[in-house]
C-alpha cells in the first residue's frame, strides 16, 4: 500500500481523510451497536432501514460519484436482490447467506450485461438503458404473479441465523444488519484505496489523462457500474428479511430517482456521503411526519437547494467549512 500510495497519492491530506473514513466507520458501527437499546421496535427498524439503504446508496455512489454514470436502476437491482433472496429462502429453503451472495452475484452479472452495450456508445446512454430496465423489472415483478406474487407480494420472509443465534428480534437483526453493512463499507473502502481504486480516482479527476496513462476507461466504468449494482443486490437481500414482506412498489423508477438524490445529498464521491444521504432519505421522513405526505417535496427541494449551493453535498459542505476553519488560505481539496 505504502509504495503505491506514495506513487500516486497527490497529498498526505488525502491519506488522512481515508484513515478518518476507516475510523469513522468502525466508531460509528460501535456506537450504532448500542444506540437502539431502549428505542423500541420501530426506532430500531428505522435504524436498520437506514443501514440497508446506505448499502444501496454506497453502491450508487461508486457508479455516480466515482465513475460519473447515471444509473436509474438502483432500486430495480435492489428489488431483484430482495426478490431473489425472498424466493430462495421461502420457496427453496436455501439459507440466507447463500441467497445474499447469489443476489449480489446476479446483480453484478446483470450490471455487466446492461452496462456493456450502453457504455459502448456514450456514458449518458446508460441512463436511458437503466431507465428502460427499471421499468421492465417493475413490470415483471407486478405481472408474473406465479413467481413474484404480483401486487400482493411475497410474505413471511425468514430472518437469518448467525451461528445458531436467531435474529428474529428487532435488536438482533439490527446488529446483524450493522455487521453486514460494516463489512460491505470496509470492502468498498479497501477497494477505493487499492490500485484499482486509485485508477478510478484518476479517472474521475481527469479521464483523458487517465486514459493516456493506460487506464481502460470502459472496463473500469463498467466494473464500477456492476459492483454498484451488486451492492444494490446485497441491500435488497437485507431489505427482504428486514421488512419480512415485499411488493413491487418500493422498487419502482421513482425509488431509483430517490436513491440518486440520496447520493448527491450526502455528497457524491465521498465515502461517508451515502450514510448521510440515506440518513436524510430514511430518517428525515420520520422527523417530517408532522407535515403529512409532503416530506418528499421537502426532501427534493432541499436537494435542489443543496445542489445549487454546494454540488458536493452535505459532506462537501462540511469539508468546505472545515478547510475554511483550519487553513483559511487553502480550499477545494476534494
Amino acid at each position: 500500500m505504502s509504495s503505491l500510495a506514495s506513487a500516486t497519492t497527490p497529498s498526505r491530506g488525502l491519506m488522512r481523510r481515508i484513515d478518518g473514513v476507516f475510523l469513522t466507520l468502525v466508531l460509528g458501527a460501535a456506537i450504532l451497536w448500542f444506540v437502539p437499546i431502549g428505542m423500541g421496535r420501530y426506532g430500531t427498524y428505522v435504524l436498520s432501514l437506514w443501514m440497508v439503504m446506505s448499502i444501496a446508496v454506497m453502491g450508487l455512489n461508486l457508479t455516480l460519484g466515482y465513475a460519473g454514470l447515471k444509473s436509474l436502476a438502483q432500486a430495480a437491482f435492489m428489488g431483484i436482490g430482495a426478490y431473489t433472496t425472498a424466493l430462495l429462502t421461502t420457496k427453496l429453503g436455501l439459507n440466507w447467506y447463500a441467497s445474499f451472495l447469489l443476489s449480489g452475484a446476479g446483480c453484478f452479472a446483470l450490471g455487466l450485461v446492461l452496462g456493456f452495450p450502453a457504455l459502448r456508445v456514450k456514458a449518458h446512454y446508460l441512463a436511458f438503458v437503466t431507465l428502460a430496465f427499471s421499468t421492465l423489472v417493475w413490470l415483471v415483478l407486478r405481472n408474473e404473479q406465479w413467481l413474484t406474487g404480483g401486487v400482493f407480494g411475497l410474505s413471511n420472509i425468514p430472518r437469518p441465523t448467525f451461528f445458531g443465534l436467531k435474529t428474529d428480534g428487532a435488536l438482533a437483526f439490527h446488529r446483524f444488519t450493522l455487521v453486514i453493512t460494516l463489512i460491505l463499507a470496509l470492502a468498498l473502502w479497501w477497494m477505493i484505496r487499492s490500485p484499482w481504486g486509485r485508477a478510478f480516482l484518476a479517472l474521475r479527476e481527469n479521464p483523458i489523462r487517465a486514459a493516456s496513462l493506460g487506464v481502460n476507461i470502459r472496463t473500469y466504468t463498467l466494473l464500477a457500474f456492476a459492483i454498484g449494482s451488486a451492492y444494490a443486490g446485497f441491500a435488497g437481500a437485507l431489505y427482504a428479511p428486514l421488512v419480512e414482506f415485499i411488493d413491487p412498489s418500493p422498487f419502482a423508477l421513482s425509488a431509483s430517482f430517490f436513491l440518486l438524490l440520496m447520493v448527491v445529498a450526502g455528497g457524491s464521491g465521498y465515502q461517508l456521503g451515502p450514510f448521510v444521504g440515506a440518513l436524510l432519505g430514511v430518517v428525515l421522513p420520520e422527523w417530517l411526519r408532522f407535515t403529512g405526505g409532503i416530506y418528499l417535496i421537502v426532501f427534493a427541494s432541499i436537494v435542489v437547494m443543496l445542489l445549487i449551493a454546494c454540488p458536493q453535498g452535505v459532506i462537501g459542505l462540511v469539508e468546505r467549512g472545515w478547510l475554511a476553519l483550519r487553513r483559511p488560505g487553502k480550499g477545494g481539496a476534494a
Binding site: 423508477l253 438524490l261 427541494s301
Partner: protein
C-alpha cells in the same frame, strides 16, 4: 386476442366501442389512429426535450411531469380562482410557461449549469418528484376529468370507425410541429436559435444573443408541453402520475428519432405511439410498456445515433 387484465387508466385508450371484432382491418386502423394520436403527444414532449438538450445540455428528467402539470394548473385555477374554463386554460398555461419555462431556466438551470451536466440532470429528477408530489398533495390524488376542446364523437367512414378526437389531436399537434419547423428554418429568430443549438460559441461570435435564444427554447419547451397536456388530458384524465409514462415515451421517442432533430423527434414519437398502441392491442396489455423499451435497447445497440440522426452531430 390475448387475455386482458383490468387496467383502469389504460383501458380508456383501448376504445372498446370502436372495435368491431369481425373486421380485423377496421380494428387495426382504429388502433393505428389511436397510436398516432398518443404518438403526436409524445412527439411534442420529445421535441421540447431535444430542443432544451441541444441548447443547454439539460437532460430534463422531469419532461413527463412537464406534460402532466399544465392540465392540473388549469383545473386548479378553475377550481380555486373560480374562473370559467376558457379563462382557466389561459391562466394555467401562462402560469406554467412562466414557472417552468422562465422560472425553470432562471432558478434551476442557470445556477447549476456551471457545476456540469450531472448535478443538473439530478436536479431535474428532484424537480420531477416535487412536481408530482406537489400535484398530488396540492391538488388531487385522484384522476380528474378534463374538458375537451375538440370534437368527441365517432364517425364511420367506409366501414371504419374513427374517433374525431384522435384525428383532431393528430392535426393540432402536427400543425404545431409544422409551425415550429417553419419558425426554426424560415424566420431570422428561429435560425438564430438553431445556430445556438448547433454551436453556441460560433453563434456568440456571430453576434447572436445566445442567452436569449436558450431562454427561447425553454419557453418553447414549456409551450409544447402545455399544448400536449391540454390535448392528452381529456383522454388520459388529469392525474399526478401521468408524467411517468409520458416522460418515458418522450425519452424513447427522442432517442429513436435521433436526439437532434425536430423531424426525428416527430417520427420517433409517432413510431413509439403506434408501437405502444398495437402492442397493447395484439401482444399484451400488461407488457405494453415493454415493447417500446425493447425498441429503445435495440436502437441503442444497432443505431445509437437514432433512425434519423447523423452520428457526427452527436455532442456530449
Amino acid at each position: 386476442m390475448v387475455t386482458r387484465q383490468p387496467e383502469p387508466l389504460r383501458a380508456r385508450l383501448r376504445l372498446p366501442f370502436l372495435v368491431d371484432q369481425e373486421k380485423p382491418m377496421a380494428e387495426f386502423l382504429a388502433y393505428l389512429i389511436a397510436g398516432l394520436a398518443t404518438g403526436a403527444i409524445y412527439a411534442l414532449a420529445a421535441i421540447g426535450f431535444t430542443l432544451v438538450w441541444q441548447t443547454s445540455q439539460t437532460i430534463n428528467f422531469a419532461q413527463g411531469e412537464f406534460v402532466m402539470l399544465p392540465a392540473i394548473l388549469v383545473l386548479a385555477s378553475a377550481q380555486f380562482l373560480g374562473l370559467p374554463m376558457a379563462m382557466a386554460v389561459l391562466v394555467g398555461i401562462v402560469a406554467f410557461i412562466l414557472l417552468f419555462g422562465f422560472g425553470f431556466k432562471k432558478v434551476i438551470v442557470d445556477p447549476m449549469i456551471r457545476h456540469g451536466v450531472l448535478p443538473l440532470a439530478i436536479a431535474t429528477m428532484a424537480l420531477s418528484i416535487v412536481m408530482k408530489e406537489g400535484a398530488k398533495d396540492g391538488f388531487s390524488a385522484e384522476a380528474q376529468r378534463f374538458p375537451s376542446f375538440l370534437p368527441a364523437e365517432t364517425i364511420t367512414f367506409a366501414g371504419i370507425s374513427i374517433s374525431l378526437q384522435h384525428v383532431a389531436i393528430i392535426v393540432v399537434a402536427c400543425l404545431a410541429i409544422l409551425g415550429l419547423q417553419w419558425f426554426v428554418t424560415g424566420t431570422r429568430l428561429g435560425r438564430q436559435m438553431q445556430a445556438t443549438a448547433q454551436n453556441p460559441n460560433v453563434a456568440l461570435i456571430l453576434g447572436i444573443p445566445v442567452a436569449q435564444m436558450v431562454m427561447l427554447t425553454f419557453l418553447i419547451n414549456a409551450g409544447l408541453a402545455a399544448l400536449a397536456s391540454v390535448l392528452i388530458s381529456p383522454i388520459y384524465l388529469a392525474k399526478f402520475s401521468n408524467g411517468e409514462v409520458i416522460g418515458l415515451f418522450a425519452f424513447i421517442a427522442a432517442i429513436v428519432g435521433g436526439f437532434n432533430q425536430v423531424r426525428g423527434a416527430l417520427a420517433g414519437g409517432l413510431i413509439v405511439g403506434v408501437i405502444d398502441s398495437l402492442a397493447a392491442a395484439y401482444i399484451s396489455t400488461s407488457y405494453r410498456l415493454a415493447v417500446p423499451l425493447v425498441l429503445l435497447v435495440v436502437i441503442i445497440l444497432v443505431k445509437p445515433e437514432g433512425l434519423f440522426g447523423r452520428p457526427e452531430e452527436r455532442r456530449v
